[in-house]
């Protein structure tokens, strides 16, 4: 036995002193976060390249005799003529539950000053999306807690739903609201058998540091950080880091998917991501196309968003839901990047400036917003009360345009107008205040069943709040029933009728 051990030992020690073979190159040009390197004959695409002083780069352009490389850090100290070498590794980031509650940069290094991160694994940043065989259809809901969205534009786990709109129309707010709501649901159901928590990842790309700090403060105040990872690549970060940040976020999400959990990723926002990628591409002297974006900017976003999926039991039994955000200029959805991302995603939530300033917040434009996964991923109770709302609102908008010209309206038209105005009022919701599903269901049920028809439109909000209070304090049992059954049966209908008539008699 000991002889075997000795032999092993001598072999291992021989290995340690053996020569290392590496492939090296010489930096010929460096600047703007991009290096051109001569040599590196064995380099692979997307391989990490080691610079002196612990700096790494990523080989993106393999040309004849030269390699174009983007730097993952500060280029100070790297001068022309220094030797670099290949590593045989791909860019990877730490993943796992240890990242929850933390703020990290593109490379997964903590930036919140809370000490080192314990990672469960290391995942490559660029990974091929799950194929057809591994996937499962999207059938579980993501509760955003925003009534207009959950009722009309339901989002499922594994779906990609675009949030699109001009600046300052509440895009980030919708995403943050959704994250807060997940934390609320996770906290309320912790430890219940069969409950699947949804972990959130917020990727801030090219954002102002102040904006990310504000989002972080909101999430902390709402107690959502224990279920959330923030990947931050602010505007002051290099274009390289901004370009890679969403891929890092996707890698972190994939770990949850591979381990039987669900994750939600917010990419805030992909317009700035495209701009960062354009900068990198132009510096690498790749040919530019429309709006000076490189030819593969569509592939950039499609391969990122394809990584959101729901996989079957054999392949991890988890899901990654993506909420990419796109900022339009003056409502122009036909610009290059918005059309690209609209065509990639499974639907969009379109936010309008006009609605926002009319006081309809969230400023969701019902006509232009869709969810292509649709009601397959909607809780039955919500489906029962919200099935007709989208149609009602569409009719309302059409009639409202005509009704401005005349005052003599027949009873049917008037009832549609009244109903529509009340729905619009009902869907107004203050920010960072997501609603529980059962609360939504009771509110929508009472509206659909005519309990709000005799309430003046400007009193609807007051009626709704008092109704919510009433249910929360006096009829908790009914809410619990809806929560547990997930559908409205005859029993619950009777309860709701009784509760509503009692409430109506006391409401003034």
């Amino acid at each position: 036995m000991s002889s075997i051990l000795q032999e092993l030992e001598s072999q291992i020690s021989g290995l340690k002193t053996s020569t290392t073979k590496s492939n090296v190159g010489i930096v010929r040009e460096i600047g703007d976060g991009v290096a051109r390197i001569e040599g590196l004959s064995d380099v692979m695409l997307n391989e990490l390249i080691e610079f002196p002083g612990g700096l790494y780069g990523l080989a993106l352009n393999l040309e004849e005799g030269e390699v174009g490389c983007i730097l993952l850090g500060d280029e100070k100290g790297v001068v022309e003529g220094v030797e670099v070498k290949t590593t045989g590794r791909l860019l990877s980031v730490p993943v796992g539950k240890g990242l929850l509650g933390r703020v990290v940069d593109t490379l997964g290094a903590p930036v919140d000053g809370k000490g080192p991160i314990t990672a469960s694994a290391i995942y490559p940043v660029e990974k091929v999306a799950p194929g057809i065989i591994k996937r499962k259809s999207v059938s579980q809901p993501v509760q955003t807690g925003i009534m207009a969205i959950d009722a009309m534009i339901p989002v499922g786990r594994g779906q990609r739903e675009l949030i699109i709109g001009d600046r300052a129309t509440g895009k980030t707010t919708i995403a943050i609201d959704t994250i807060i709501n997940q934390a609320r649901i996770n906290k309320a159901n912790e430890g219940k058998p069969g409950f699947r928590p949804l972990y959130s990842i917020y990727v801030g790309i090219g954002q102002k540091n102040s904006n990310i700090a504000r989002s972080l403060a909101v999430l902390e105040a709402a107690g959502a950080m224990p279920y959330t990872i923030i990947v931050s690549a602010p505007a002051s970060d290099t274009a390289t880091n901004q370009y890679l940040a969403p891929f890092s976020g996707a890698a972190m999400g994939e770990w949850f998917m591979d381990n039987g959990m669900d994750a939600l990723i917010v990419y805030d926002d992909l317009s700035k991501h495209a701009v960062a990628y354009r900068q990198v591409s132009l510096l690498l002297k790749r040919p530019s196309g429309r709006e000076a974006y490189p030819g593969d900017v569509f592939y950039l976003h499609s391969r990122l968003l394809e990584r959101s999926a729901r996989v079957d039991e054999k392949n991890g039994n988890g899901s990654v839901t993506a909420l990419p955000i796109i900022e339009t200029q003056a409502g122009d959805v036909s610009a290059y990047i918005p059309t690209n991302v609209i065509s990639i995603t499974d639907g969009q939530i379109y936010l309008e400036t006009d609605l926002f300033y009319q006081g309809i917040r969230p400023a969701v434009s019902v006509g232009l917003s869709v969810s292509r996964v649709g009601s397959a991923a909607q809780i039955k109770a919500v489906k029962q009360v919200a099935g007709k709302i989208k149609g009602d609102l569409a009719q309302f908008r059409e009639l409202a345009a005509f009704a401005q010209f005349g005052s003599d309206l027949d009873a049917k038209t008037k009832s549609i107008l009244d109903r529509g105005a009340r729905i619009v009022e009902l869907f107004k919701q203050v920010q960072y205040n997501p609603l529980a599903t059962e609360v939504m269901v009771t509110t929508l049920w009472s509206m659909q069943n005519g309990y709000m028809d005799d309430v003046a439109v400007d009193k609807i909000k007051d009626f709704q709040l008092k109704l919510q209070d009433y249910f929360a304090t006096r009829k908790d049992a009914v809410l619990a029933k809806i929560r547990d059954t997930g559908a409205i049966n005859d029993d619950i209908t009777a309860d709701l009728k009784a509760a509503l008539s009692e409430f109506k008699s006391s409401y003034r």
Binding site: S18, K21, S22, N23, G25, L40, S41
Partner: protein, 133 residues
């Protein structure tokens, strides 16, 4: 100076002309350079510089630079050359350098391949292992 596409293509063609059986031919190289200087095509200085770069890279592929902390004796050098020629072909040229910063061991560079068994490299590896583990 940036070379345009046509000049770059021309340079590549010239380089291809200077090869015999895939190896650089010294006679052909001087003939090519002489012709270019004589005919002076557009941006010929740039072409010659690019040509020089290609030749330099090609020469580098068949030239070994052996660095050691102390000068190698003749026997060890010959032994090394024989081994390297067996691996990289018989036309490999060799150059010995003394670099005291290596502290010990050898560092051999052929083209972009580097074989490093120097003490400096091993210390550097140890350092990264200890600091990044």
């Amino acid at each position: 100076m940036k070379l345009d596409k046509d000049a770059r293509k021309l340079t590549k063609g010239l380089f291809q002309l200077s090869l015999t059986n895939g190896r650089l031919d010294q006679k052909k190289v001087s003939a090519v350079v002489g012709k270019v200087i004589a005919s002076k095509p557009r941006s010929f200085v740039g072409i010659l510089k690019e040509y020089q770069r290609l030749v330099r890279l090609e020469v580098g592929k068949h030239h070994a630079v052996v660095e050691s902390a102390t000068p190698l004796d003749k026997q060890a050098g010959d032994h090394l050359l024989a081994n390297l020629r067996a691996k990289y072909g018989n036309d490999l040229t060799i150059e010995f350098k003394t670099t005291p910063e290596l502290l010990g061991g050898l560092r051999i560079k052929i083209g972009s391949d580097v074989f490093d068994s120097s003490v400096r490299e091993r210390l550097a590896r140890l350092e990264t292992q200890l600091t990044h583990a």
